[in-house]
C-alpha cells in the first residue's frame, strides 16, 4: 500500500501533468487522510535525491547564494555579533544536550527513524499524542520535534511556535519542552507555550500542576504556579511573571482570536498565521494605536478585516487571490 503513495509521487515527479491532474494531486497530497504515508513517500523522494558537492557547484547555485546573501543583509539585524556568538554557543550546547537525550541514549537504533517533526500549516491546528501519552495541541505554523520513543532520563521535545501540552504523569521522567531561548520542565501538568521565532517575546502559561522554567542560557530558573504566565523578551532579556486571563491565553485552542491592546502590526502577524493570505502594506500605514478585539471561531478574514477597518477608521483593505492589501483611507 505504501507503494501506491510512492508510485503516485513518482508519476507526478517524472511527468508533465495536466492542470486538472495537478490540482487533484495537490488536493490529495495536502489531504489529512494517510498523511503519514504521504509524508513517508515524500521523504523517500527527498532521500533519493543526492546532495551536492563543492566540485559541482553550478553558476545558478552561485547566483542563488548571492541573492540569499543580499536578502540576509537586508533583514533587520536583531542581535549584534557578540551576542550572536554567545547565543550560538548556548544554542549549540542546548542542542547537543537535546540530541544526546534524543538519539544517543536510544542505543544502537538507527538515528534515521528517531526524530519526528510535526508541522502545522497556516490556518490549521494539529492534535497529537506523543509516545508517552502526552497530548499536544499545536497552533498554526508551529513545529514540534520529538523522538519516536522516549528513552533516557527525560522526555525532551523541541518547539518552534505555539502549543498546549497536557503532560502524561510520570514522576521519574520529567517532560521538557525546549525552545531557542528557554525551556520548561514538567512532571504531570498542563501548560501553554509560545515561542514563534518572529515574535519579540516568548511566553509560557501554566494551567495546572507546576513547571520549572529555565532561561538566560539555562542559568536562571523559576517555578510557576497555576494561572501564572512567564514572559521572556528576547531582545531585552527581561523576564516578567503575570496572571493573565486564562480564557484569553487558551482562546486559540478553540479557534478564537483575541487581541488585547495590540498594535495593528502585531495583529497582522497573528492573522498571517491563522489565514492563508499574505498581507501587503506600507509600514507607515499602520499607526501605533492599540486595539482590543475578540473574534469567534471560524470568523472569515473578510469579517475580521471589516471590523478592524471600521474600528481603526484610518485604513481600508482589499482581498485579491491570496493577498490582503491594506492602504490608508
Amino acid at each position: 500500500m505504501e507503494n501506491y503513495f510512492n508510485k503516485i509521487i513518482e508519476l507526478f515527479a517524472k511527468h508533465d501533468v495536466s492542470t486538472s491532474s495537478q490540482n487533484e494531486f495537490y488536493r490529495w497530497l495536502t489531504g489529512e487522510k494517510f498523511s503519514g504515508e504521504k509524508d513517508q513517500a515524500l521523504r523517500n523522494l527527498w532521500n533519493n535525491m543526492a546532495d551536492s558537492t563543492p566540485a559541482e557547484v553550478s553558476y545558478e547555485t552561485r547566483q542563488s547564494l548571492n541573492e540569499v546573501r543580499k536578502k540576509i543583509r537586508q533583514r533587520p539585524r536583531k542581535v549584534n555579533t557578540k551576542r550572536l556568538l554567545f547565543w550560538q554557543i548556548s544554542a549549540a550546547s542546548l542542542l547537543i544536550a537535546l540530541l544526546s537525550t534524543l538519539y544517543f541514549a536510544a542505543g544502537k537504533k538507527s538515528a534515521n527513524t528517531d526524530l519526528i517533526e510535526q508541522y502545522t500549516p497556516i490556518a490549521e491546528m494539529t492534535y497529537l499524542t506523543l509516545p508517552d501519552g502526552t497530548k499536544v495541541q499545536m497552533n498554526s505554523t508551529a513545529t514540534l520535534l520529538y523522538p519516536e520513543q522516549f528513552t533516557g532520563e527525560s522526555r525532551s521535545v523541541y518547539l518552534i511556535g505555539e502549543a498546549n501540552f497536557k503532560v502524561a504523569k510520570n514522576k521519574k521522567l520529567p517532560f521538557i519542552v525546549k525552545s531557542n531561548d528557554f525551556q520548561v520542565t514538567a512532571l504531570g501538568t498542563e501548560f501553554n507555550m509560545k515561542a514563534y521565532p518572529g515574535d519579540p517575546a516568548l511566553s509560557t502559561t501554566l494551567l495546572s500542576g507546576s513547571v520549572e522554567v529555565r532561561f538566560n542560557n539555562l542559568a536562571s530558573a523559576l517555578i510557576l504556579k497555576p494561572n501564572e504566565q512567564f514572559t521572556y523578551n528576547k531582545q531585552t532579556k527581561e523576564e516578567t511573571i503575570s496572571r493573565p486571563d486564562i480564557d484569553e491565553v487558551t482562546a486559540w485552542q478553540r479557534g478564537e482570536l483575541v487581541f488585547k491592546s495590540t498594535t495593528l502590526k502585531e495583529i497582522i502577524t497573528v492573522l498571517e498565521r491563522k489565514y492563508p493570505y499574505s498581507f501587503v502594506y506600507a509600514l507607515n500605514t499602520l499607526k501605533d494605536d492599540k486595539y482590543t478585539f475578540r473574534f469567534k471561531d471560524k470568523t472569515s478574514l473578510r469579517e475580521v478585516m471589516d471590523i478592524i477597518a471600521e474600528v481603526s477608521g484610518h485604513i481600508k483593505y482589499r482581498i485579491e487571490n491570496d493577498k490582503c492589501y491594506i492602504s490608508p483611507l
Partner: protein
C-alpha cells in the same frame, strides 16, 4: 565561532543542500521560479537558526521546511479542489487490479489518482478511447463511429491501455505485498 567561520559554514551547507531543496520544490510545484523563491526563503531562515546546522538535523529540518513551504504555497493557490471524476468508479479499478482486494477500497482515492496520472501518460487517442469505453460506457461500435476509427482499432487501443495499466498496478500491488 567568529563571523567569518559562521559565514563559511553557512556557505558549505548552502552548496551542499540548496540544489536539492530547489529541485525537490520544483518537482512538486512544477515551476522553477517558485522553487527558487521557496529555496531562497528557506536558506534566509536557516541563516538565523545556526542551532539547526548540525549534519543530520539540517537534512531533516530542510526536508520539513521545504515540505511546509510547498504545502503552504499549494494552499495559497486557493485551488478549488474538485472531486475526481466520479465516473471513474471502483468497477473500472477492479478490472485493472484483476482481483478484488479489500485494500483497494481503503486506498480508493490513491488508486483513482494513480489511474488518472497513468492515463495521462498514454497517447491521446488511446486514452480517449479508453475513457469513452470505461467511463462513459460507450460500446466499441459507438466509439468507432464517433472517432471515425475501425472497431478493430478501438479494441486494440483498449487492449493496450488495459495492458499498460495492469502492468503498472501489478507492480504497485506486487511490491506492496512483499
Amino acid at each position: 565561532m567568529n563571523t567569518e567561520a559562521y559565514r563559511t559554514e553557512f556557505e558549505e551547507i548552502f552548496i551542499q543542500y540548496f540544489p536539492k531543496v530547489k529541485a525537490f520544490a520544483a518537482i512538486l510545484l512544477k515551476s522553477e521560479q517558485e522553487a527558487e523563491d521557496v529555496a531562497q526563503d528557506i536558506f534566509v531562515k536557516l541563516w538565523e537558526q545556526p542551532d539547526l546546522w548540525e549534519g543530520y538535523l539540517v537534512r531533516n529540518y530542510l526536508y520539513t521546511m521545504v515540505k511546509n513551504h510547498v504545502f503552504n504555497r499549494i494552499k495559497r493557490k486557493n485551488i478549488e479542489f474538485k472531486y475526481i471524476n466520479s465516473q471513474m468508479n471502483l468497477h473500472s479499478l477492479d478490472e485493472i487490479a484483476e482481483f478484488k482486494d479489500p485494500l483497494n477500497e481503503i486506498y480508493h482515492e490513491e488508486l483513482q489518482l494513480l489511474l488518472k496520472l497513468s492515463l495521462e501518460q498514454m497517447p491521446d487517442k488511446r486514452r480517449q478511447v479508453f475513457e469513452m469505453s470505461r467511463f462513459q460506457d460507450l460500446s466499441n461500435h459507438e466509439i468507432a463511429e464517433k472517432l471515425n476509427l475501425s472497431v478493430r482499432t478501438v479494441e486494440q487501443h483498449i487492449y493496450l491501455a488495459l495492458k499498460e495499466l495492469k502492468k503498472l498496478f501489478l507492480i504497485a500491488i506486487f511490491l506492496m505485498k512483499f
